[in-house]
Structure formats: C-alpha cells, structure tokens
Amino acid sequence: MTRVPLLSAQGLNVRYGAIQAVRGIELSINEGEIVTFLGANGAGKSSTLNALVGLVPVAEGRVLFDDQDITDLAPERLTPMGLTLAPEGRRVFGGLTVEENLRMGAYAVNDVDRRMAAWDMVYDLFPILHERRKQFAGTLSGGQQQMLAIGRALMCGPRLLLLDEPSLGLAPKIVGQIFDLIALLRERDVTLGIVEQNVAMALEVADRGYVMAAGRVVATGTAEELRQTDRLRAAYLGEE
C-alpha cells in the first residue's frame, strides 16, 4: 500500500491579475514530516502557502488534504479540518490580549477537553505567554509575538501547520529559540510546512525540501540532498 500524503497539490497555479506567482507546481507533505520551502524573494513560496489554505484563490490545479479536495475551500473551513497557517509577519491581533489571541486560535474547537489540552500545550511550550497573558499582544517584543503567532495557530490542534517565515526580522538568538521550538513540535507529532529564508536552519530541522524559483519548483529532495546540490545556490542567485 502506498502512503497517501496528508496534503498534496497538483499543477498549482496562482495569479494576481496579470502576474503569475506560482506556475504549475506539484508538492506533497506526509504525516509527521517537516517540509521546507526555500527560494529567493518573489519565488512564490508565500503565494503557495496562501493558496493551500485558501487565502488567495487557486487559479488552476488541485489541492488535496486528508484525501479531500480543498482547492476552493475558504480558510475558515480548513481550520476545523486541521489545516492552518501562521502567516508571514506574525500578524498577531495587537489590540487583543495574549489570552484573547490564543482564545481566537481555538475559535473553531468546540470540544472543551481538546481546548483545555491546547491551552496546556501552548502555555507549556511558551511559559512567557502565560506570564504575559493579560498584556496586549501589540506590546510584546518581536520574538514573543512570533511565539504568540505560532501558539495561536497551535490552539486549533492542527494536523498540518504551515509557518510562513517564522524567523523573519528576529534577532539571531531568538531565531535559535524558534527553531528549537520547531524541533519540539515534531516530537509532539505536528506535521509542519515551513517557508524560510534562513536556509541552514531550515534544512537542519526539515526532512525534505522544495526549492522554488520564479514560481516553479526547481529542486526537491531530502534535506541532506538539498544541502549538497548546486540547485539551491542557483535558485538564490537567480540562475536557472
């Protein structure tokens, strides 16, 4: 029996008006894996993630999650199914307290026990969020906001969590903490898809990766293989 991926996309295209951001890519993420998406700015990584969760429309192609066609589903339909995204730039609700942000993360969870478990897990992973739970999220430091953004996304108990540039704009020490956390999440059986500009760090935690350039996947393989190919360098330097 072949293993069915948790999420897969076939011939995925994303367009913004006349601009084609993603050009017919194929990808898959298996249960329990950490998969990273690498590439220079404008390669189409974020567009890909946004299209997977329904934030931007899929122009062509199909997206399957847990064997169901989710191509045209809105993000608010996907969260209850176990697919969510922690967006680029953190985007915490600054005018809400830390606690309210997390409460919103669990908005789609109706089961009280599952919700309690999520609170325990998030406060256990991020003691700082518990400490600051009454504080407005807008007053947190960048690193704390990123932890809140990830914690908020974890509150819905996702089977697949997509992280868009979790280390963007953070101090090196904090970046290390974020990646430690990602390693911790793996131990808790959260499947992850990560868009990251910090290539070395990303390949260290990831099992597999896709290298994108100009809206296409130009290389794919295990993290080990990608570390050794020239395609990665080429993709960043814009040589195709």
């Binding site: 934030l55 995204l85 985007r91 600054g94 005018g95 309210e100 789609a108």
Partner: protein, 297 residues
C-alpha cells in the same frame, strides 16, 4: 450654575444618542469598511414600530423591545439582501449601495405610510420632569442617559468577554488572519449588523421619546450627526465613536444655550467650525483607530 447643570444633562442625553448611533456606524465600518448611510432608516423603522404599537394600544414596555427588535432584524436583513452581494467590492460600491438602500426605504415609508410626520403616543411619565433643587430635569433625559450608559456597559462586556465579540475585534483588526482561526466572515459581519441595529433601535426610541413624532426622513439628520461624531472621534474606533458622540452633543447643546442671541443663527456653522478645528489638530480624530489602513480581505 443651575442653567449650566441643566444644559449639561441635556448635552449628555443628546450626546449619548449620537454616541450610540456613531458606535453603530463604527462597528460596521471597523469590520467591513462600509459607512452605512442606511443606518438612519433603521432608526425610522424603529420609530414606525413605536407608532404602530401606539395605535394598536400595545403597552409601551412591550413596544420598546419590539421597536428595538425591528431595527435588529432590519439591519440583519439589510446585510443579507443588500450588502452581502457587494461584499469585497470597493468602498465606493458599498457606500453607493447604502445610499440606495436608504433611498428605497425612504420612498417606501413615504408611499406606504405617509410623507408627513406622524404622532407617536408616549406614556405620560416621559413628558414629566424631576426637580432637583432649582434644576428641572426631564424624565426622558434621565431615561436617555440611563439607556446610553446601559448600552455602553453591555457593548463593552460583549466586545471584551463574549467569544463573538472578541472575534469581531479580531476581524476588525485583521480579517484574513481571523478567517485562519476559523472565524467565519458571515458570522462577524452579521453580528456587526445586528449590534448596529440594536444601537440604532435604542437610539431611535430615545430620539422619538424627545419628539413624539416620526417621519420618513427621521433618521437622516441624527445619522449625519453620528457620522460627523464618528469622524471626530476617529473613524473605525469604537471608543472614538463614543467620545465623538458626546463631544458633538456638548458642542451643540452648549452653543444653543450659551451663544449670544445675535449669533444663534450661526450656531450650526460655528459648531461644525469647532469640529473642523479639532480635526485640524487631530486629523485622525480624537481616539484614532490603530488599524485603519490595514488591508482587509
């Protein structure tokens, strides 16, 4: 001094009504970027409900909740029928839609009810007044202030404690991310309209209880004032709407009371001049919304 206290009570009563209306506009605007000019027609619907209840001899204690309910239902229906199809359209599209809804309703009121002002039966007690020392305060003013305070407390509780209220604040800040949490656009938008209808309904009861009449254009002036109040306070900011409503109420009442007789005919321009002056120094309003200018999906 007595006159000052008396006028302050009047200003609180009028300002409170403006504040409730401005809040209704702000709740909807903060979530979907729509300035709903048909908000006034929600008031008019409430007013006519009060009028018909009076004609049918329904007790006032029953007709008030009915009038408020009518505005809530009308607001939700308005969203469902008129605004949902243009959701995601430009601000101009939604604005024009709201004008269309307002005009259609006004014409319906004129043709189906009457173009003229109709009397609304009010209980005796509302026209009585209370003597506190030398100050005479109308019961309707006290009722207006009490109702405003109750509504503000209710709204504060709702927005800060209730899951749907918090979701509305989240959606006002970043709609796309709110959807990623599983918050449905329809839920928060319908919720915002229901709240705005509730506020318009309460404001209508207060408005009618000061005037005892209703006409097809009844909602136009107060909502125009509420719009000015919302801008004055900071468009999209709920606290700003309340502050702007009270500020405008105070400006209007104090000018009417204390401006020398020969300047009275310039009262409105002087009042609006003051508004412009405040906006010159605080162009985003007294308590600006922090999130205005964020892209809404």
């Amino acid at each position: 001094m007595d006159l000052f206290v008396q006028q302050t009570v009047n200003a609180l009563a009028l300002g409170g009504t403006y504040a409730l209306l401005a809040l209704g506009l702000a709740v909807v605007f903060s979530i979907m970027g729509l300035i709903n000019f048909a908000h006034g027609e929600l008031m008019t619907i409430s007013g006519y409900t009060l009028m018909y209840c009076g004609i049918l001899g329904v007790p006032f204690a029953v007709s008030v909740p009915l009038a408020i309910l009518a505005a809530v239902l009308a607001a939700v229906a308005m969203e469902r029928i008129a605004f949902r199809p243009v959701r995601g359209g430009s601000g101009a599209t939604m604005l024009i839609t709201s004008f269309a809804v307002a005009m259609i309703l006004q014409v319906l009121f004129q043709n189906l009810i009457s173009a003229r002002s109709q009397a609304v039966a009010l209980p005796q007690i509302l026209s009585q007044s209370v003597h506190l020392g030398n100050v005479i305060i109308g019961v309707n003013k006290i009722a207006a202030i009490a109702a405003t305070v109750l509504m503000l407390i209710f709204l504060d509780r709702f927005m800060n404690r209730q899951k749907t209220g918090i979701a509305m604040r989240a959606a006002a800040e970043d709609f796309a991310v709110a959807r990623l949490m599983g918050i449905r656009a329809n839920t928060v938008i319908a919720g915002a309209f229901a709240i705005s209808g509730l506020l318009a309904g309460v404001a209508a009861v207060l408005w009618v209880s000061q005037r005892a009449s209703v006409d097809p254009l009844m909602g136009f002036t107060p909502v125009l004032k509420a719009f000015i109040a919302a801008i004055l306070g900071g468009l999209g900011s709920l606290r700003g709407a309340v502050a702007g409503g009270f500020m405008l109420g105070f400006i209007e009442v104090y000018l009417a009371a204390f401006l020398p007789q020969e300047f009275q005919e310039f009262r409105e321009p002087i009042g609006l001049g003051l508004v412009v002056l405040i906006l010159l120094f605080r162009p985003n309003g007294m308590i600006p919304s922090r999130f205005l200018g964020l892209i809404k999906v």
